[in-house]
Symmetry: C2
């Protein structure tokens, strides 16, 4: 017998305990009509909302509930990171499948709460309903950024260098390993594909660094794959781009033993790096004259120059032989009919 | 052939047009990583999130898409009203059933947008995904209220008079009429049960009046039925309450012709008034010495004294013969096993 919370008040009481909702800055938390937030002076509020849907963003058979909670919140925190902001408050709305156990809900909140604490985010409310279909979660995060300093997608200019953090395609590789039967409990090591997939780290410190250093002309987070997201940044900025395939920071896992298999493995990893979603790394453009000031690593996280912004629209891959090949958006776009 | 938007950029472009996202106060709207909001000085931000799930809060066969959009936003705006706030921005996240037509999505946004404009709310973003189950919508609204003046649930004290706005049970009566085959197009007249159900009006002006007049010691909105919601207000305030059954403002529709049927009809309406959800009227407590300053109507909306706060916990109904009968929470609580 699966046991759910037997009443709303029992759920609210439990949630208050788990989230320790009250503090000075969140004036009213879980349990009143809405949450009341006192913003700092001279701050702008960043608001973001991200859906995580069972069967689309996670699968109950593959993803432990703790990972689902972590990832639901990480998706929204990554948007805050991409604007150079500091997360303050989160609201989690759960449309829970009727087959959900209380244990699943508890583990979900544990996953969200661990990430929330570590990033200074307070979970102050939300809504809950039981549904006859798959579970979906909407994570709303409110963050702060000093007035007029938020990092946008729209400032990239011709000649700007394009950078990414971390290694691309790790999350897609982790998902593939999960589907092939890898156990989620092996996901402890940071940098491991399983860890990258199940517990992605929103790049909040890097986002703040880019804002404070004023290095970047445009920033966004990689949620749907480089080929899709770079197209968005270019559209917002009214520019195009060329990427060097040799420059992309591919996963260094699994280690490739024989030279014979190297080329096929590299082509596969390249596809993952271009089209694999949910890396939650930052993609940013830097004016050419400032590019030399971008460190090789920021707090251990590699920052790699992968290409250049062009004046004319269109995205291209520069192959090792110098040939330019059009780059099609092949990432994870929820609205595509092909994902039905 | 049902046609959905063929790409995310097409959807975002359409949404920008519909919502006219940019303005001075919302610095960045639909299309960047997140929405950026510039709060007024000396204001607190109210954040609220409300789920509307197909099969729980609406049915595709009964509720036109315009009504679903209106109601999804109205649920969240009603929370802002209950705190005496002014709505500013909304984010709408849609987990859309794959069988949804583009027309449905357009009508949904029309319904939300008409209410948003009328209440001064800007729709500045959201998220969208296609799901294999029923459609669910998460409406997030950010509002403002001057620091330290938000109306809470927790201030009711023994002796306070309990008031409600409007007439209770109208929405449940409207739902019953819809189920019995009434056409939604007859819902034009404000005050008609169908109108109350399909296009409920968040009581924003009344909420602000209660805040500015400092009449109320505790306020909340009636979303799940008087018997359920009054229990919440009393729990938050650490008090109990007695309601006079004769005092409840019942629907005056349908007009009751014969005296013989009067008693049965009244008992039925009384049940709807106590347990029917989604009225979105305001429930508020007023200290006894201030009760005489509560107007009979506020901008045409009747305000009715329905009972009194008691020191000891527990909710009671005072019957016409003076007998006190315990009031059980019979409203719409999403977490109840009985709703499975």
């Amino acid at each position: 017998m699966r046991s759910m919370f037997t009443s709303e008040s029992q759920f609210v009481d439990w949630l208050k305990r788990v989230c320790q909702a009250r503090s000075d800055s969140a004036v009213v938390g879980i349990g009143d009509d809405a949450a009341l937030v006192r913003p700092g002076s001279k701050q702008e509020i960043i608001l973001t909302t991200d859906l995580s849907v069972e069967g689309v963003h996670f699968r109950r058979q593959l993803h432990p509930a703790r990972s689902v909670g972590h990832r639901a919140l990480a998706r929204a925190l990554s948007d805050i990171a991409a604007m150079g902001g500091t997360p303050r408050f989160a609201l989690l709305s759960l449309a829970l499948s009727r087959t959900t156990s209380r244990r699943w809900v508890e583990d979900f909140y544990t996953g969200a709460q661990v990430l929330a604490r570590r990033t200074g985010t307070q979970i102050i409310g939300g809504d809950t309903a039981l549904v006859s279909g798959p579970t979906s979660v909407d994570a709303v995060v409110a963050g702060e950024v000093p007035r007029g300093t938020a990092l946008l997608r729209s400032g990239a200019r011709a000649g700007d260098r394009i950078f990414v953090s971390g290694r691309l395609g790790l999350s897609a590789l982790g998902l593939r390993m999960l589907k092939a039967g890898s156990s989620p409990v092996t996901a402890r090591r940071s940098g491991h594909p399983l860890h990258a997939h199940l517990f992605p780290e929103p790049r909040l410190a890097l986002g703040r660094f880019l804002r404070e250093s004023r290095l970047a002309s445009a920033v966004m987070d990689l949620s749907d794959g480089l080929s899709t997201d770079l197209a968005r940044l270019c559209r917002a900025s009214g520019v195009g781009a060329v990427l060097g395939t040799e420059r992309l920071p591919l996963p260094n896992f699994p280690p490739i033993a024989s030279n014979a298999r190297l080329s096929a493995a590299r082509a596969d990893l390249l596809r993952l790096a271009l089209n694999g979603g949910e890396d939650y790394e930052l993609l940013f453009a830097v004016p050419q004259r400032k590019a030399k000031h971008v460190p090789k690593r920021y707090r251990g996280l590699p920052l790699t120059c992968i290409g250049e912004i062009r004046r004319s629209a269109g995205l291209y891959l520069s192959l090792p032989d110098g040939i330019l090949k059009p780059l099609r958006a092949g990432g994870f776009e929820h609205f595509h009919r092909s994902h039905h």
